[in-house]
């Protein structure tokens, strides 16, 4: 329902959301993606090697 002067985005998210439903849980797909990404990023942040190991070795 944007006005005609607004430039359109690449993807139009202005339509009713799809939901993920399980028992009493009803989450929008967008929120599920966000939460999933947060968990993935957390795991990756812990597992991926951090640069500078040689400098740290010298410093120890």
């Amino acid at each position: 329902m944007a006005t005609s002067t607004i430039v359109a985005a690449v993807f139009n998210l202005n339509r009713p959301a799809h939901t993920v439903d399980w028992h009493f849980i009803h989450l929008s797909v967008a929120n599920v993606i966000v939460i999933g990404l947060m968990l993935l990023v957390f795991v990756l942040a812990i597992l991926l090697p951090f640069p500078g190991s040689r400098r740290r070795e010298t410093a120890r």
Binding site: A9, V10, F11, N31, I35, F50, A59, R60
Partner: protein, 336 residues
């Protein structure tokens, strides 16, 4: 107060330091976040669904508008019976002996009969029939006013209830879709109320009620409480909200309009409303707020909560985080 700290044998670090440019890191981080925000903007933009107006409401749902207006006049609407901070016609929510809604009192007085119906109608000039109806209404006793209003409201409410339960309506209400008008067969003597309601519907359709409710106390206005509460008593906002998955039972607290991500961080606040006893409780809001208050305090005080503060030791995610450090200790470099 060492008992508060628990078993904390953390010693100050006396080991090595390596070069680390904090300011550069912040600049890079700001650039990264800025770029990500721009990218997300180009890909998805942001939602901006136009607000509803009382004019739109009265034109698209004239029957619903008339039902709500009748309830405002009769004093039976959601706002009319809300209690503080709008009026004294209800005690508000409570939890055991706690009644903060009642205790904090009426800070934003709203008299639905006067503010939503009689007030806007009084501003209409040059309508002799309306003036006569208003004079008759204002001269009557409170009891008479209420009886008239309820006689008009009852068939509207019964029709609305029947439609919601998908049963056959009683036939006391007819809507002229083309004209956008509503004809009501009152359940008893409705006095001047039908004339008042008919004029209010016409005023609403012209945008006059939107304007009237906003500028009623002063020219410059930034407080939209009255028009919002009037609309929220009706069905238009709820209809739009349901389409956008914003209702409570749809976990709407977490959602945004359209298919945008919303407020995922409100997940725990939203959960309580989906389960008993909160789901069907009249005091759901105060109960959930109190639970979230306690949990929020607990979040802040984690360092002092036994068990919760010890969990990171028992579930050793830290071994992964500090694996390079532990490896260096266990297998120190041979050269001295």
């Amino acid at each position: 107060m060492s008992w508060l700290r628990g078993k904390d044998d953390t010693r100050p670090w006396t080991g090595g330091y390596y070069p680390y440019d904090l300011v550069k890191e912040l600049c890079v981080a700001t650039g990264v976040i800025g770029l990500m925000a721009v990218l997300l903007t180009i890909l998805f933009s942001s939602p901006d669904e136009k607000p509803s107006t009382i004019a739109q409401w009265s034109r698209s749902l004239p029957q619903n508008f008339s039902t709500t207006a009748a309830e405002e006049l009769a004093g039976t609407s959601g706002t009319a019976t809300y209690g503080p901070p709008y009026n004294h016609n209800g005690t508000g929510q409570e939890a055991w002996i706690l009644r903060p809604q009642k205790w904090l009192g009426v800070s934003h007085p709203i008299d639905t009969e006067k503010d939503f119906v009689v007030g806007p109608l009084e501003a209409i000039p040059g309508d002799a029939r309306l003036t006569a109806a208003l004079n008759e209404y204002k001269a009557a006793s409170e009891q008479q006013k209420k009886a008239w209003a309820e006689a008009y409201a009852k068939p509207l409410e019964e029709t609305a209830a029947a439609e919601e339960e998908e049963k056959k309506p009683p036939g006391t209400v007819t809507v002229n879709e083309a004209a956008g008008s509503v004809a009501v067969k009152p359940s008893g003597d409705a006095g001047p109320v039908p004339v008042m309601m008919e004029r209010l519907l016409a005023l609403a359709k012209s945008g006059g009620v939107d304007g009237s409710l906003l500028t009623s106390s002063q020219f410059f206005q930034t407080d939209y409480t009255k028009p919002l509460l009037f609309m929220a008593d009706g069905g238009l906002l709820e209809k739009r909200a349901e389409r956008d998955h914003l209702l409570g039972e749809q976990w709407g607290i977490m959602n945004e309009t359209g298919s945008y991500p919303g407020q995922a961080w409100l997940w725990l606040y939203a959960v309580w409303y989906q389960i008993e006893p909160f789901k069907s409780s009249e005091n759901a809001d105060i109960l959930v707020m109190m639970i979230m208050g306690v949990l929020s305090l607990a979040l802040v005080l984690i360092p002092f909560i036994p068990g919760v503060r010890a969990l990171p030791r028992w579930i050793p995610i830290y071994r992964l985080i500090w694996r390079e450090h532990y490896r260096a200790i266990e297998h120190p470099r041979a050269d001295g």
